[in-house]
Symmetry: C2
Subunit: 170 residues, 2 copies
DNA sequence: GGGTGATCGTTCGGTACCGAACGTTCTGGT
DNA sequence: ACCAGAACGTTCGGTACCGAACGATCACCC
């Protein structure tokens, strides 16, 4: 859809000019601005599209999908590393696990020998769900990167990893 | 932090192997997977870090900041294009505008000649706020892209724009 | 072995965010 | 001049998500 680099470019320049006008003569890092702001926009677009086209049919959310996926790949695990892997605050995970538990996609079990810990794992239904869902999800991911060749995808992933490292530093 | 491409690589491979084990022999587009999943992770990391280090001092959220910024750059505008520019559902915008209005950073005015429309603009306090905040914000953006040279930032922005276009297609 | 401090998951309060439904206001055709 | 439908912002119900505070459990040490 729409190879219109000219329009894009023009729009971009108009925005830069407006920003520069608003900010006055102070210097501004437009390159970083454009890169970073597009990260957020891309993430939101990808999420919305995936939830709308794919996940809503299964009644699960983006975050819920992430949890199922991690459990599928790594198997039963405790709440804290699961939250870390899903990039969620542990308080957030608690609520989402409860939701997934109600849907019977996930179950909690107590850790043998440490009553503080909880072991989270997929139910059979959860296993079936993610197994059916993931191939479709991956095809979506492929579609989202349409127009980028393999080397570019690698580059994109690498640069984003760099941003993640920077943002999580300290 | 830490330049440890070896560890990163190893971790990545371990993950890929775990995924492949879970998925069995079905083919999988790892390149797209890595690219797309990093987008979301980077966006979350950037947002959290910015809210924690910068915005919380001013009592505003990421979304609130976006609204102030857009109004600052583009001036008074109606709700619908503002929502589009901020990448928000219009229902979401309503609530956030109410929050910002309570903080007296933003004001609503009725459109002359069309009572359905609303004109949203910055108050003086809002103007001061964003003007003080934005340079710091931009420095954060620069810090997030630390380690990428100018050409890479351009590339990153371009590839993300591509993803956005793909995800918003239709 | 009993108490102090760390570690775990949950709870709590608050905002963000979405999609759908809604009421109001405008517009175009006749 | 009217009325059917479009356009606008708000309301509503629901989930996600965070950070801080909390209670329960465990580990260490004298």
């Amino acid at each position: 859809m729409a190879e219109s680099p000219t329009n894009e470019q023009a729009e971009l320049l108009a925005q830069e000019k407006a920003v520069q006008a608003a900010i006055g003569d102070r210097p501004l890092d437009f390159l970083s601005l454009n890169a970073v702001s597009n990260i957020y926009r891309a993430a939101a677009a990808v999420r919305r599209r995936t939830e709308r086209d794919l996940l809503s049919d299964y009644g699960i959310t983006w975050g819920g999908f992430t949890i199922l996926w991690v459990l599928w790949v790594w198997g039963e695990m405790e709440a804290a590393p699961l939250a870390a892997e899903c990039n969620l605050a542990k308080g957030t995970l608690t609520g989402m696990l409860t939701t997934l538990e109600k849907q019977e996609l996930v179950r909690r079990a107590q850790h043998p020998g440490d009553k503080r810990r909880v072991l989270v794992g997929l139910t059979d239904a959860g296993h079936d769900c993610i197994e059916e869902l993931y191939p479709k999800f991956n095809r979506q991911e492929t579609a989202f990167t349409d127009g980028l060749d393999d080397a570019e995808k690698v580059e994109l992933a690498r640069m984003l990893r760099r941003v993640i490292t920077n943002a999580e530093a300290e």
